[in-house]
């Protein structure tokens, strides 16, 4: 029988989140992008939940619940609804082809693994988890700069946030609950504002492409 210990489970979850971020970086259909994002967020919640058992810190369970509800259910559904109601195209656009994006995410992920090596020598957190969270951060950033439409950019930002949460959880096991909730609240309000702006842009241009937003340059 396999030795299925809790720390191993943590690594397994983190690894799956990393794989999902590659899928996310190269998907071009809004619906599947949102489904995979929801799955990644649920994995993040599972990570927080498992961690609460490892460290016997029960307030992490509250965090896990909030992450499932907000990032796993509400945010993807809401974005889907906005897309449907504003008549946005299901097909998203990017500056590069999906295979190129996949290749680039591989590269930035390798770089993150190298950078995490330097960090874990000073910080006592597990190497793999740190590396995964840095990879999520950089793949999310890649999505942010490679996507042409506002939907893709929003999801890229949310993937980055997932990376930061993974890192924060691994490192400190959470700050005080109140602060965590405050941070999550900021993320949700930020997301809501992004959606409002997206909706306005969609209404004015009948498209959510960012190359329509090119007026302000010096």
């Amino acid at each position: 029988m396999m030795n299925f210990s809790l720390p191993f489970l943590l690594v397994l979850i983190a690894g799956s989140m990393l794989m999902l971020s590659f899928v996310l970086a190269s998907r071009m259909r809004l619906l599947s992008l949102l489904r995979f994002f929801a799955l990644q967020s649920i994995l993040l919640a599972a990570y927080a939940g498992t961690l609460s058992f490892v460290r016997a810190e029960w307030n992490l369970l509250v965090m896990a619940g909030l992450i499932v509800v907000l990032k796993g259910v509400i945010i993807p559904r809401f974005l889907m609804r906005v897309a449907r109601e504003s008549g946005a195209s299901q097909r998203l656009e990017s500056y590069a082809r999906p295979t190129t994006l996949l290749f680039c995410s591989g590269i930035v992920s390798i770089l993150s693994f190298i950078a995490a090596g330097a960090l874990t020598s000073v910080v006592g957190s597990g190497y793999f988890i740190t590396a995964v969270s840095f990879s999520l951060l950089s793949v999310g950033f890649l999505m942010l700069v490679s996507r042409k439409d506002l939907f893709g950019q929003i999801i890229g930002f949310l993937v980055m946030e997932n990376g930061i949460f993974t890192f924060g959880l691994a490192l400190t096991g959470g700050l005080a609950l109140l602060i965590e909730v405050g941070i999550l609240f900021d993320v949700v309000v930020g997301f809501a504002l992004m959606t409002i702006l997206l909706n306005w842009v969609q209404k004015q241009h009948a498209s959510a492409r960012t190359d329509l937003l090119r007026e302000l340059t010096d």
């Binding site: 930061i164 890192f167 700050l175 602060i179 941070i183 930020g190 306005w200 842009v201 007026e215 302000l216």
Partner: protein
């Protein structure tokens, strides 16, 4: 106790404008709220300027003279900005540029913005400080996109996305700081309380704090507008309704810088000296001072020109803070002077925009002819921002040359060159705008309104501080603020 009073006043100022539907009445109510807020900021800030730092009994708030001076600046500028907003919004509603309903929305957002700035400056808990700083971005996004035109949407999108990404990286720094505190024996809430961290600063693991500070510098530096993370700033500050531009440029940038300095104190404590962080401050500061000069010289839009000038001045303050105690005195003087001057300039730019209906420099001629009062304040503001005595910026820039000449001659040489370019840019672009005669006679004479009172208050404060900083009393006043850091 005065802290609770301050937050109660915020609530008061938030609720009050909701009681009316008429634009005129909303303006009066908002002004009442803003005045109460200013008074309570004074009640909190002024006594705290002269006493040692203190933590509130519940451990949530930390008030030192440096925070106190920012509380007073926030309180003052939000008061004058509301004074300017009243006639500004009245004009915009009568032109049909915005609907009547949006006036209340505007005041509610401004008050929430001011509240989050107060919270960021006063919080002892570094996590709360992060939440409050992000809240300032969230509160102002809808103000940047207030006109809901294409360009304002673009500016708001850039602003929200870049600042959120930046500050998310800052969050990594907060987590690392909490981790560092845990290795020094502080866990949970105690580990992110500034007062506690300060007391154990010398035992914090230096390597962790170094990495944390790099994240903080990039993250919070985005909000300060440091080059190369400044791309959002000219757009956002240029597109926002002018009274809010004044608040963003004059106050919010300083609040973000304040947060950065809090962490600098910690990392300096952990490293046992400030050489490392000073080096970063000098490099980022000089870069942020020099790069905008090129954009100022060829700028076509006067509000963007003022925004680039804010980047340059924040660069100046950051650079000064990298020069040890003499530099910190210079930086604090400059911070105060810039806050007062830049917001006044944006107020004047707002009146100009209302009259000429364009922000293009080429399309505005004869401001002094058409708007003699606003034009006069505009001119005085330009002279003050260019450090013509008795501006407080004259004192700080003159002192910086003294402080940096022997320590950092190369940086200083580059900055003086950039300073000359900036001076030339301001004179070249704005003087024709003010003095050129246009052939058409103005339809009516400019009438005095609240916005002129606000600018007059700023001008009085600028001159008063300019003279005060020249005296030994002024120097010891600022030194006292610095010593508490």
């Amino acid at each position: 106790m005065f802290i609770s009073l301050l937050f109660l006043s915020c609530l008061f100022a938030f609720v009050l404008p909701l009681f009316s539907r008429r634009v005129e009445a909303i303006g009066v109510l908002a002004l009442t709220g803003a005045s109460a807020l200013f008074l309570s900021a004074l009640a909190l800030g002024v006594p705290a300027l002269f006493v040692a730092p203190s933590v509130s009994p519940d451990g949530l708030w930390y008030l030192d003279p440096f925070a106190a001076i920012l509380v007073i600046i926030i309180g003052f500028v939000q008061w004058t900005a509301t004074m300017v907003s009243v006639p500004y919004l009245r004009t915009e509603v009568s032109h049909g540029a915005i609907g009547k309903k949006r006036v209340r929305e505007y005041y509610a957002l401004v008050t929430f913005f001011v509240l989050s700035m107060f919270a960021a400056v006063l919080s002892n808990n570094l996590g709360l400080m992060w939440v409050a700083l992000e809240a300032t971005t969230l509160a102002t996004t809808l103000l940047v996109s207030f006109y809901a035109k294409e360009a304002s949407l673009e500016a708001a999108w850039k602003y929200l996305l870049l600042c959120s990404v930046g500050i998310s990286l800052g969050l990594l720094g907060v987590f690392l700081t909490a981790y560092a505190a845990a290795t020094s024996g502080l866990t949970g809430v105690a580990g992110i309380s500034f007062a506690n961290l300060l007391s154990v600063a010398a035992t914090l693991p230096p390597e962790v704090m170094r990495i944390a500070f790099v994240f903080i510098l990039v993250g919070f530096g985005t909000k300060v507008g440091l080059v190369p993370m400044h791309a959002w700033l000219p757009d956002a500050h240029g597109r926002t309704p002018s009274p809010v531009s004044g608040l963003l440029s004059g106050v919010l940038l300083n609040v973000a810088l304040f947060a950065l300095i809090r962490y600098k104190v910690l990392v300096d404590g952990a490293l046992g000296g400030s050489r490392w962080s000073d080096g970063l401050f000098l490099a980022f500061g000089a870069l942020s001072f020099i790069v905008p000069a090129a954009f100022i010289l060829v700028q076509k839009n006067y509000k963007r020109l003022l925004a680039y000038s804010s980047i340059e001045h924040m660069g100046f303050v950051v650079f000064s803070f990298g020069l040890g105690v003499p530099g910190m005195i210079v930086g604090t003087m400059h911070l105060i002077g810039h806050a007062l001057t830049k917001s006044m300039l944006f107020f004047a730019a707002g009146n100009t925009l209302l009259h000429f209906k364009t922000t293009k420099i080429a399309n505005v001629k004869g401001v002094l002819q058409a708007l003699p009062i606003t034009g006069g304040f505009f001119l005085a503001g330009i002279l003050a921002i260019l450090a013509v005595p008795p501006s407080p910026l004259f004192v700080s820039e003159f002192r910086l040359v003294g402080a940096a000449l022997s320590a950092e001659p190369w940086y200083l040489a580059g900055m003086l060159l950039a300073g000359a370019v900036i001076f030339a840019g301001f004179i070249r672009l704005l003087m024709p705008m003010l003095f050129q005669r246009s052939s058409e006679q103005p339809a009516s004479r400019e009438r005095l309104n609240l916005s002129h009172a606000a600018m007059a208050l700023h001008l009085v404060a600028i001159i008063a501080f300019g003279i005060f900083f020249l005296t030994p009393a002024g120097e010891s006043f600022i030194t006292n603020i610095i010593k508490s850091l």
